[in-house]
Amino acid sequence: MSRHGNLVGNSLAGVALCVAAGICAPQAAFSHAALMTAESAQAIRLQAQYDTGAPMAHAQVIIYAPDTPSDVWGRGITDRDGRFDFIPDDIAGRWSVQVRQAGHGVMAHVDISAGAPVIMATSPQDTWLQRAVMIALVAWGALGTALFALRKKGRPDASA
């Protein structure tokens, strides 16, 4: 199990301990023993960021389970680095996680099956070279449109 899994397992254990302590506290006088079980679980860690590279810090997270996609399964807030961890229930299928903040947002899907979960995040960011090529292509198209309109305006082209 990964380090995250151990951490989650430890925190689960902590929660179990607290619950157990809460239940047992009033009965401590009767010398009942406290029991604790712990297990490791597989958590999903997501990171949300804007396309400028800035993290979506403290953004709201809404999780939908595959069996009831119209109902909210869980909510949360990303940390300052835009990260969010959750442990899905043992429900196979496609889990959807939406992160949104101030009218901006992103949706990611996690396929959970018998094997390891497959996380389908949004496509990686374009490089500057890709963007430059796109801008150049659009500029080329615009130039063509402009020259076409100018030609139609009554200036005969060379082939005429």
Binding site: D51, R75, G103, H104, M107, A149
Partner: protein, 207 residues
């Protein structure tokens, strides 16, 4: 400041398409009434490229960064042609850069197109008498209006699952971060029109 897919309810997206479709058709009919409708096409084509590429120009406003919109500039320079030009630019931004959603294209057209047309109207009314002031108001006012429309759409379409209080705080921070952009775009329009007046007065749009 483009609404992505999956943020607003489906009805909103459909209504956005309908509204921006009507607005674009109206703008095109006004273009058609001009003596030579083709005359503005070269300028519109080139400014569409500028508008398209401007969304990649990020202005750092710590701790976030905002990107240029150029809605007011499009309105002042293109008049009625601004609306179809903005729709084409937004479509290209959505499919090539992923800026804004395809389902929300109509809403984004309203968010940026409506302020552009109003900036044009203001420029027509006051541009001859007070060119600098009119340019500043057109450039800055368009951003402020776009922010207002964006905020209104987001707030009225908040899903129940979302905590409205947290989202409102996030939107306030978002608006605060855009204040420098309001000023910057006004300055951009003033500077461009000043250069045009000095270098090539024939290119200055007239109301």
């Amino acid at each position: 400041m483009h609404l992505p897919d999956g943020i607003v309810p489906v009805e909103f997206a459909l209504a956005g398409y309908a509204a921006s479709g009507v607005l674009t058709a109206f703008a095109l009919s006004r273009v058609n009434r001009q003596p030579d409708p083709r005359a503005a096409i070269p300028r519109a084509a080139m400014l569409t490229t500028v508008f398209f590429a401007a969304s990649l120009v990020a202005i750092p406003v710590p701790p976030v960064s905002v990107h240029l919109m150029l809605s007011g500039l499009m309105g002042v320079m293109l008049g009625w042609f601004a609306m179809p030009a903005i729709m084409v630019g937004l479509f290209l931004q959505a499919v090539l850069f992923g800026h804004g959603g395809v389902t929300t294209l109509g809403l984004n057209g309203l968010i940026l197109g409506l302020p552009a047309l109003l900036a044009y109207g203001f420029w027509c009314a006051a541009g001859r008498r007070w060119p600098d002031t009119a340019a500043l108001v057109a450039g800055s006012g368009a951003v402020a209006l776009a922010l207002a429309i964006f905020t209104a759409i987001v707030l009225s379409g908040l899903p129940v699952a979302l905590d409205a209080g947290t989202e409102t705080v996030a939107i306030k921070a978002f608006l605060l971060a855009h204040l420098p952009l309001v000023l910057a775009e006004g300055v951009v329009v003033v500077a461009l029109l000043r250069v045009l007046r000095r270098v090539e007065p024939g290119l200055v749009p007239h109301g």
